[in-house]
Symmetry: C2
Amino acid sequence: MAENGLREKVLSLDSMNPWIKRLEYAVRGPVLARAVELEEELRQGVQKPFTEVIKANIGDAHAMGQRPITFLRQVSALCLYPELLSEPLFPDDAKQRARRLLAACGGQSVGAYTASPGIEIIRQDVARYIERRDGGIPANPDNIYLSTGASDAVMTMLKLLVSGEGRSRTGVMIPIPQYPLYSAGIAELNAVQVNYYLDEEHCWALDVGELRRALRQARGHCQPRVLCIINPGNPTGQVQSRKCMEDVIQFAWEEQLFLMADEVYQDNVYAEGSEFHSFKKVLFEMGPTYSSVVELVSFHSISKGFMGECGLRGGYMEVVNLDPAVQQQLSKLVSVRLCPPVPGQVLLDVVMNPPKPGEPSYQSFIREKQAVLSDLARKAQLTQEIFSQVPGIRSNPVQGAMYSFPRIQIPARAVQEAQARGFAPDMFFCLQLLEETGICVVPGSGFGQREGTYHFRMTILPHVEKLRIVLKKLSQFYAKFTQEYS
Amino acid sequence: MAENGLREKVLSLDSMNPWIKRLEYAVRGPVLARAVELEEELRQGVQKPFTEVIKANIGDAHAMGQRPITFLRQVSALCLYPELLSEPLFPDDAKQRARRLLAACGGQSVGAYTASPGIEIIRQDVARYIERRDGGIPANPDNIYLSTGASDAVMTMLKLLVSGEGRSRTGVMIPIPQYPLYSAGIAELNAVQVNYYLDEEHCWALDVGELRRALRQARGHCQPRVLCIINPGNPTGQVQSRKCMEDVIQFAWEEQLFLMADEVYQDNVYAEGSEFHSFKKVLFEMGPTYSSVVELVSFHSISKGFMGECGLRGGYMEVVNLDPAVQQQLSKLVSVRLCPPVPGQVLLDVVMNPPKPGEPSYQSFIREKQAVLSDLARKAQLTQEIFSQVPGIRSNPVQGAMYSFPRIQIPARAVQEAQARGFAPDMFFCLQLLEETGICVVPGSGFGQREGTYHFRMTILPHVEKLRIVLKKLSQFYAKFTQEYS
Ligand SMILES: Cc1ncc(COP(=O)(O)O)c(C=O)c1O
Ligand SMILES: Cc1ncc(COP(=O)(O)O)c(C=O)c1O
């Protein structure tokens, strides 16, 4: 019994899993919670200084009005309701793909469980995609595991990699700033988070000297065994140079680190001179000394790119040089959850194996895809332009991904005010911004940043005209905010 | 460096997460692996004593030829490809539902992330479903979390519940035989599995005396805090009596155990005199002494029932009496994975909120639903009838779920032979059965069974005519097998 005479809960904050308590996921944290409340208040007719909440907190293209790519949805609808195969409504290439995918499903239905790593022919299509992407370096379908979004695959790999107690706990090196799935996963699994800082002064580049520093320091209190890279970067938007990737691989090779390459933004590269290289490609081009040794997993997702199909929860990972005995364990582990969602598998297949020249849907598919990507490139540019004009805001170019992560100066009085109210200073800024403008962004503290610096992350996804307004409003608010607290 | 001069892997059997190594998931274990090989051999024209592999290892209705329910797929296809809303192909009620669901999606697209616990109106529909099911006992949408199949929700709850080290590790009581998601989840989380045995002599009833024994014994070496129940049972097919459920609740109340009720087969009840009661309903009907205290979570899935939509990975859990602070932690935890797959959410919604009398699709929906359920009932009956005629096989009636779990006598010489080859005796039986007949079933050892008893689990899902043949072949093989080893 508790002191108040009520029975204590079996499951309470005291008795629950302590590692879960520790984890944080800022992308859907307190700012979003308040944004949802504000939306409800607006709906109920409460007066606000804005008429609409704009959720620039999450990389969710469709939610921001991007239209789905027609061909992807045609194939999906055909697979879900095969009666449509006899309708003249759909182009032949969509029907052909649907027939092929259905033939690979148990009972020809997407309602059957698939093999736990995903449907075999889809894994083959993924392998062919990777080979084309990487200039012919071979990919083996057996090394490809489809997943429930990249989130699921990242967690699965982290799970395999953690072990040990005390000083021999697995250390996982992650960039700061990072996408908070990593810090949350590490917390949940009671591994040790080892921070390496990206170099804001050099466009968020990854510097091997910094990796070395972080590793050296970590070796005192844990066993660093994993190096996570996010390229193109979230929240930071940088695209790594090939040289830098080689250095990273060299480092992983020397220091015996397992490489986790989060490459979900591989199609989202906008800046001139920036180009996506997969870690696998660079690894293999460095020759067998490296390519036969370095253990690597790469993640991809249907949530980003030009398709933005977040809700379908599809993705894959490719493992390279994984110990065959461990790979058996991985296969066993994924079997417990039965299989990834089949509509997500289907959609992934079409992304991997898009319409080819000469097929009926080819032209329109390419047109839709290019329209999305060039629109994103324009918005990346626009964001950078507008922020660069605001005194006190310093923003690196958005070379890739879907976010701007500008640094903001916060006046000392605002810092004090925030601390008095129990908020991180940038959380305070974001909450104020939301209350006054309806714009929902995520504070830099949710991703990690150097002590004493402040940032926020904003997606570049709103329609270009709306984005322009959002950026203006945000800049004006920032000016007002700094003035108020100066 | 390893002794052979090769570099050691960073991630090896020695260095990987030891808890993952321990887990097993027999439903997709070695028998299935061999079945998949045999299918491939057949495809390549290798001669076998059979022409087809029959996968009776997993509760996957569509894979066994069950047709999807038309209305469910119509709404799904409309949501995936809303251009179809203007086509006369679809009935108005399907369109209306699709419009309502799309309006609740970000950007009106199923490609947007939803709220992490699922789309709000779907959670409301689930709450209304539960209220109807439970004779009006209120359900709060805020207590409902949609999930990626029930597997995901079960793992999430287990995650919250585990804590402690050594003797204070969380003990989780599970039935033996059990569905191996539970043993796998417990192993993965390094909790302590506490077995209570179902009473095979009494149709796999749950006996509170046995719960008490198991609890008492466990208290010496762990802290039992969770009691898992599967009702209707998998692999055992029993449906619990109301009286038994009251005893279980009383026990959980007395012993301060958190109740996890796996009720994914709630629509799969066939036997005369058997009826499904939800644990929540029974709890509330026992009055406030119990209903205001006992912490309960109930799981449901779109994979089973009459719809069998395994591949869409949909489901929900309802939490009752959860500490509000813990519930916040749960909400935070699910947000890391972003959201359950939206096509699964959509399909769940239609199951929860099916066509109503007077709506255009009502008649055909009911007809299709009843056809599936009465077919299953017939197959449950048939399975029981045929097995009961085979000397050496003893099978309880299949009151519910989708499986028969007969006990088989295995001759001493076969047991020796199995042990010589390094197999559990029932694994040996199942592998031999597969090689000679192409029938794939799962050994009882994968679910747990009393020492010295042997079983296998077979689904009742093949078409009735094929099921009859499978049962006959299986019985004949069993006779031959026992003779051979006598
Ligand atoms: C870097 C990165 N990795 C992984 C994910 C997970 O995405 P999903 O699970 O939708 O594939 C995201 C989502 O924003 C991301 O930004
Ligand atoms: C008792 C039980 N619980 C949970 C599940 C998980 O099913 P799903 O994840 O497909 O909802 C199953 C699947 O067979 C089951 O039998």
